[in-house]
Every structure is written in structure tokens, then in C-alpha cells.
Symmetry: C2
Subunit: 394 residues, 2 copies
């Protein structure tokens, strides 16, 4: 896979041996010029040390380096965890000779274990001296935990004759819930983007992508999406009123949605990609409640894993979602076949058998009560999910 990289960003990876033996597990992203930065973070009240530091530093609006690792989340590690994360970013700043405050840490992995500083600190020397020898794809691979493939995508835009590059990379796999997934995501662009506009555009993109996916309903302590724009394309500055603002906003949303879909498809033990669409709900928050209940339902997810068009489990989840519903006005469709029509089972399950064996399943729930609607992307749950998560740490 050839990766078109935004100008002015350099990458390196190394094997620190934090948890996994003999694979790259630490990575450095460096922007030659200080870049504008914005970010979105986990809404979990328990936040990992690196998240706390990112939230603080992002107020400056400037970044020049990101230091990422897998194998250890540096979460619930107390003041020692903060000290360790600061020691890591300080060391990066010192070696790169840049402002300490412009270095951002991102960690993913096991919660509650101290960072193995004796392994990480020496790896930083290696990362800095090897800058430019790795690609963004190597970085995506280094931050994998139970992911089975690296997740990366990019877009190119032409604005006033100048080519802009936007690259996104992320990791996902487990602890995936709306608001947000267990994930780290880095978006890099050589566009020149005004900071407040970038913030608004990223928030919109995340709310319509990463916040719409659900694998297991668990929400992590480490979720982080960072976007850096270093302006190296020498494009005009993109601001809310720029002619190019709309296209950038749209492109960023598409890029995040593509990454979000990759996360669901590569979820732990996932065999099916499921779209849960809700429409006709009384309110938009009712639609969300229903989509969340259905996409969280273990019984729905295991039925779909078993190719069983068990719409009864879907309607049970609709009923306990907390939303206002009327049995006699609900319609449930799977892959466009209506199975429950305003209170009456249609007995058309046999028409579904073949299409359910495919890798994508569409569930549509129409409440026929109002204009509330939403869409969530989720997955089935297999024995493999249980196997992975009962053996993940020990």
C-alpha cells in the first residue's frame, strides 16, 4: 500500500518491548514546522494520564510532536503516571530541541500498570534518530493492540491549484462504544487551517463517525483524536467563510467515517458489519436511545452472528430503550425485508436466510411517530470476542 503523506511530517517507530515482544510498539510523529492542533477526548470521567496532559496542552493550539505507544494505557496510574508521561514528552522535546508544551503523548493498552520507563526512555533516542525512516502506516501498525490490521486512509484536495493532503490513522478493536470508541486517532494535514474552524470541523466529523460506532458498549479511558495542520502545502488559510471550508469539512467527515467503519469491521471477533438505522422516532434523542439499546444488545448481536433474523430481540431492545414507542406503529426491516409491520409479524424470515450470510446487515427501525432519526454502526459478537477478551491481559 503506497501512502501519500502530507508534507512536512516525519515518522519513526521502534521496539520498546512494553508488552509485546519483538514488534514496534512505540512511534513518533514530528512536524518540521509547529502545527495547529485540535482534539476530541474520551468523556469517561476516569481519564488516562496522557489524555489529561493532551487536554491541558491543546489549549496552546500548537503541536510539533506526538509520541504514541501501545501495550500500556498509562491510565489509573496516579501521580506517578503523570510524572512518567511528562518525563517521556520532556525527553522527546529535549532530543528534538522543541518546546516541551508542543509534545503530546498518546497511550493505549492495559489500564493500571506503571509505564516501563526503563524500556521507553532508551527507545526515544532511537525514535528521534530514525525520524523519516518509517511511514505513517508503520505508525498505525505500532499502535495496534488487539487490532489485526493497521487502519489508515487519506484524501487529497485541490484548492486554488494547491494540493492538500489529509491522512488519518487509528487503532480500535475493543472497548468500542458511542462517545467515543477505544481508540487513538491522528489526523495530519499540510493544509493551513484556522484553529477554531478546525476545532468545529473535527467535532462535527467525530460526532458523525467515531461517536456512531459501537462494538461492546464499553468506553475507554484513553480515547483521543488529534488533528494537526502544519500549513506546509502553502495553501490559503482555510477559515469558516473560505470557499474551501465546506469541502474540507466534508472531506474530514468522510475520512473519519471511513476510519470508524474500519474500526467496526476489525473489532474483536467481528464477522459482520451492522448498520442500525432508526427513523420516525418522537425525538432525535429517542432515536439515539433506541439505536444504542439495539446496538448494545448481546442477544441481537449473537443472533446476527448466528445468521438468525431474530427481530423479536430487536423489538425487545426497542421496548426497554427508554424511548417513547407504540407497538402498533413500529416497523422492523432487516436487509429491506419487513419482519414486523405495525404490530404484526409478517413471517417473512425465510426470505432473509441468504442475505444474512453476507458480511453486511442493515437493520431499519421505523417508529412512525415523529422525525427523530439516527444511524449507528456496530458488529456482531462471536465466541472469538470472548476468547480474546478473557485472555487479553493474563
Amino acid at each position: 500500500m503506497e501512502v501519500v503523506s502530507p508534507k512536512g511530517f516525519l515518522f519513526s517507530v521502534a521496539k520498546a518491548g512494553i508488552k509485546y515482544p519483538d514488534r514496534n510498539d512505540i512511534a513518533l510523529i514530528y512536524s518540521k514546522k509547529p502545527a495547529n492542533i485540535t482534539g476530541v477526548f474520551t468523556t469517561n470521567k476516569i481519564k488516562a494520564a496522557p489524555v489529561k496532559i493532551c487536554i491541558k496542552r491543546i489549549r496552546t493550539g500548537i503541536a510539533q510532536a506526538l509520541i504514541l505507544n501501545s501495550g500500556n494505557a498509562n491510565a489509573c496510574t496516579g501521580s506517578e503516571g503523570i510524572k512518567n508521561a511528562l518525563q517521556i514528552t520532556d525527553k522527546v522535546a529535549e532530543k528534538l530541541k522543541i518546546n516541551k508544551e508542543f509534545v503530546y503523548p498518546l497511550s493505549t493498552g492495559v489500564i493500571g500498570m506503571p509505564m516501563p520507563m526503563d524500556k521507553i526512555i532508551p527507545a526515544i533516542d532511537e525514535l528521534v534518530s530514525n525520524l523519516g525512516k518509517a511511514t505513517a502506516l508503520d505508525v498505525a501498525r505500532a499502535i495496534m493492540t488487539t487490532d489485526t490490521c493497521p487502519k489508515l486512509t487519506y484524501r487529497q484536495l485541490k484548492i486554488n491549484g494547491k494540493q492538500l493532503n489529509i491522512l488519518g490513522l487509528c487503532k480500535g478493536a475493543g472497548m468500542i462504544s458511542p462517545n467515543m470508541a477505544t481508540m487513538l486517532c491522528v489526523i495530519l494535514t499540510d493544509a493551513n487551517i484556522e484553529n477554531n474552524f478546525m476545532k468545529e470541523a473535527l467535532r462535527y466529523a467525530v460526532s458523525e463517525s467515531f461517536n456512531l460506532i459501537n462494538i461492546d458498549g464499553d468506553m475507554s479511558t484513553n480515547d483521543t483524536v488529534l488533528m494537526l495542520a502544519n500549513g506546509e502545502s502553502n495553501s490559503e488559510k482555510i477559515q469558516p467563510k473560505s470557499p474551501s471550508a465546506k469541502i474540507l469539512r466534508k472531506t474530514l467527515h468522510e475520512l473519519c467515517l471511513e476510519l470508524a467503519h474500519m474500526i467496526v469491521k476489525n473489532g474483536e471477533g467481528v464477522t459482520k458489519f451492522i448498520t442500525v438505522e432508526v427513523k420516525g422516532a418522537k425525538t432525535s434523542s429517542d432515536a439515539k436511545r433506541i439505536a444504542k439499546a439495539v446496538s448494545n444488545s448481546l442477544l441481537v448481536k449473537t443472533a446476527l452472528y448466528g445468521n438468525d433474523p431474530n427481530w423479536g430481540r430487536i423489538i425487545a431492545a426497542v421496548g426497554y430503550s427508554g424511548a417513547t414507542v407504540k407497538e402498533e406503529s413500529i416497523q422492523i426491516f432487516i436487509n429491506n425485508i419487513c419482519l414486523f409491520d405495525k404490530g404484526i409479524p409478517t413471517m417473512k424470515e425465510n426470505k432473509l436466510q441468504e442475505s444474512l450470510e453476507q458480511k453486511e446487515v442493515q437493520i431499519l427501525i421505523n417508529l412512525n411517530m415523529g422525525r427523530g432519526r439516527t444511524k449507528i454502526f456496530t458488529s456482531d459478537i462471536s465466541e472469538e470476542y470472548v476468547k480474546i477478551n478473557s485472555a487479553y491481559r493474563t
Copy 2:
């Protein structure tokens, strides 16, 4: 197992062949005298036809027969479902020569399939003519779905020299969530109990037993707990101010708690019984939010299945529960070993290895913020759960 049965109740079972071949799947419970009745039902907004009928009839406060079946929930079956359930109870009333309104239907099984009336109606003749030939244990067995053992318990009380018998039977297995479990439960007593007092006592017992258990977070359309008191013991009438009121209330609670524990232990694919205790929360509803998030967490449940004392997943669930929490005041104990002590990991996981291999696990979360507390009983999740639920219907 010898079953001490309350006086004046007769039982019968039959093989209607509703879903399972060659096993009893339909049962009749008959009280010689009309009994006082009270009940608690699913809070799911989608309610099965038999639940709707029970809710209506229970206003009379009187019952004389219960007709129960497994294999078909008669849920989401529209007006046809109501018609079928009424036809079943009418037939029972006709054969028993009792008031139609005193017959209550209870169904459990697949949602959204019409009741196979051609199989059920003839079975009613058999049930009525065989009344007295079966035991309550046979009834408990006939209502099993994916349960692997029948669930029944009883208590005897002596009040003013009179012996009172209370018997409870239930089924559980999947779709088990607080408020309430996927379950049918019938409690029969020959005590003479004033109806309003019985209602209050049952509500209390259910809230402190069946409403505290959680297997998969799904809530069913059919959950029903019915309690019948026929007074055949000739005991004094038990009223709120009776000297025996307190002991009856306590006994009923114990009986329901024992049944609730049986449901968790016999949950689909369950290998461990887990108590999640929360204390020191700011409010009691915060305590409930936390206990629910932890007991719902797939990552917590799979970790415990794998004997992994992964408290990081517990604290992540605490953080996303929505409750007010402070990382630096949280303590997490597993089997009385403190693993996270007010912001700091204690690194005592190795002390736990042996005790985690046992069948019961205690999780205690102390927020150290206030007086809110609760306890939820839950289970681990194994590959077997997925296997059962991906193959349950088809």
C-alpha cells in the same frame, strides 16, 4: 428432591410440542379455592400478550388457575396474540368450571411467532384431567427454555401454631437484566394474606432480588412474578400490623433472593457468580448507575471468565457510568484484596490468582464520597453464552 407443597394447590404438566419435541412444555396450576393474587411485570414498553392480560385481570385481586408454557413467548403477535391467549385461558376456565377472569396466562420463549393453537388447545384437556398428578418441580421443569435445571425453593413458617408453606418456582437463563430478569416466577402460599400487604411485600422482595440481577443487560417482554395466597392453612389473616407481617415479608424476600441467585448461577454459559457491591457513592442512584455499568460490562465479564483480575476494566466502567466520581478517592477490591487505592494501583494482582479460580467473585467499589450503596448479582460471559444465543432460535 422432596417438595413440600402449600395446601390446596394442584399441578399438572403435558407435552404440547410447542417448540421442544418430547418434553413437558405446558403446565397448569390450580387452587381449589380462589386465591388472593398480586404481581410484578416487565417494565419493557413492549409487553407480551399474556402480560397484558395478567395486568388487566390482576385488578380483580383474585386467581384460581395459572396456565404456563415455554417455547413461545406470545410477544409481538398483535391482536391475534391476545385472541390466542384469551382462547387458552377461556378453555382452561371452561374445563375447570371457574370464572374466566380468574385464569392467568404466562408464556416464555421465542418472540414474534404465533402460538401453535392446534397443539395447545388439545393439551389443555390433558392438563385438566391430570391435575394433581404432577408436582411443582414438574411445573418448574416444563417452563424451562435454555435453563439447564429447574428452579424451585420453599419456606415453612409457624405462626400461632399454624404451619404456613410458601413455594417459589421460576425460570431464567437469558435476557436477564435489572428491572427485571427474563423470567417467569410463581409464588404459591397457603397463608391467608391481605391483598394490599401482599402487594407491598412482593414489590419489596422483587426490588431486592430479581431487580438486582444482571446476566446480559437485555430486558424481556414477558417478565412476570405472580404470588397467590389461598388461605388453605387456615392461619390468621396477615395484615400490615399483624405480628407475623414482618417475618412473612422477610421470608418472602429470602425466597425471592434465593431464586434470583439460582437464575444467575444457571445463566446461559455462566461459570461464575459475581457480586458487585458499590458503597460510598454520592447518591443511591449513582451507586446503582455504577453497579449497572460494571455488571453490564462485557470486558469485565470476559476478564473474570478468564480469571483475570483486570480492575482497569472495572474502573473504566465506573468512569463511564455517568455517576459523580473522583479517581483519587476510588478504591477497588476483588475478593477483599485492594487493587486500586485512591488513585494508586497496589500491584497485588498476584495475590488473587488462586481465589479467582473459584466460582464466586466479590467486587467492591468504594467511592468514598457519600452514603449511596447497592449490590448487584451478575455473572461472567463465556464462549458458551455466544454459542447458545447464536443458535437459540434457528
